[in-house]
């Protein structure tokens, strides 16, 4: 049960994530890469800003990765999240999971990103031409 969890303002490095997650024990790796989309509901997005309550966010991500290890026979789990200002096309999040068999890798990876989006104290502000909005803040 190996995990690597990071939250920082530097650009995320995909190759470094892959290098860490690969191992001779594993047969399948699933990697989810979130990217900043150029539009939300058809409205052009200029940039995003991510803010995290770092200590608690790490804490909550650790809980999620532990749950993933409990639920599926996975070998390594990596979660990197970026904060600060991100331009369109940049990468806010990378999740990588290795397992002996691919089913576990796929399921755990999807569980981790789905749960991260529900519980981890990180906030995203979208900047449009005519204003800015904290995503999900209001009904």
């Amino acid at each position: 049960m190996q995990t690597q969890i990071e939250i920082h303002t530097e650009p995320l490095n995909i190759q470094a994530c892959i290098d860490w997650i690969m191992s001779p024990d594993s047969g399948g790796i699933d990697v989810f890469i979130g990217t900043v989309r150029n539009a939300t509901k058809g409205k052009p997005v200029l940039k995003l800003e991510f803010e995290a309550y770092n200590k608690m966010a790490i804490n909550e991500i650790e809980k999620i990765t532990k749950q993933a290890f409990d639920k599926w026979p996975v070998q390594k789990v990596l979660v990197h999240h970026r904060t600060g200002t991100l331009q369109v096309g940049e990468i806010p999040v990378i999740i990588a999971v290795s397992a002996a068999h691919r089913d576990a890798a796929f399921e755990a990876c999807r569980y981790i990103i789905d749960t991260l989006k529900q519980t981890v104290p990180i906030w995203k502000k979208e900047f449009f031409e005519d204003g800015e909005v904290w995503v999900a803040a209001h009904p």
Binding site: A57, V93, T119, P121, K125, A136, A137, H138
Partner: protein, 80 residues
């Protein structure tokens, strides 16, 4: 007692800063904290929801707060 409450995301905008100080009775609960904050900052009530975190854990409404706790307001998260 005085509690320093950390704010993130839209809560920072509502409070006008990264933290606010709130005067609470000793043995106050997170529910008391919410009531007090909502009186001072009514825009909190317009959020889709929000939680209180105590010492980096989501806190239930009944939990007692002390002035040694790290307390934060967690508006709806939107990471990933």
């Amino acid at each position: 007692m005085e509690i320093t409450v950390l704010a993130f995301g839209i809560a920072k905008d509502i409070f006008g800063g990264a933290s606010v100080t709130v005067a609470l009775a000793d043995n106050a609960t997170t529910a008391d904290l919410k009531t007090s904050l909502e009186e001072k900052y009514p825009r909190l009530k317009h959020l889709a929801s929000y939680m209180v975190a105590v010492n980096n854990e989501y806190a239930e409404d009944g939990g007692v707060i002390t002035d040694r706790d790290e307390v934060a307001i967690i508006p709806p998260v939107s990471g990933g």
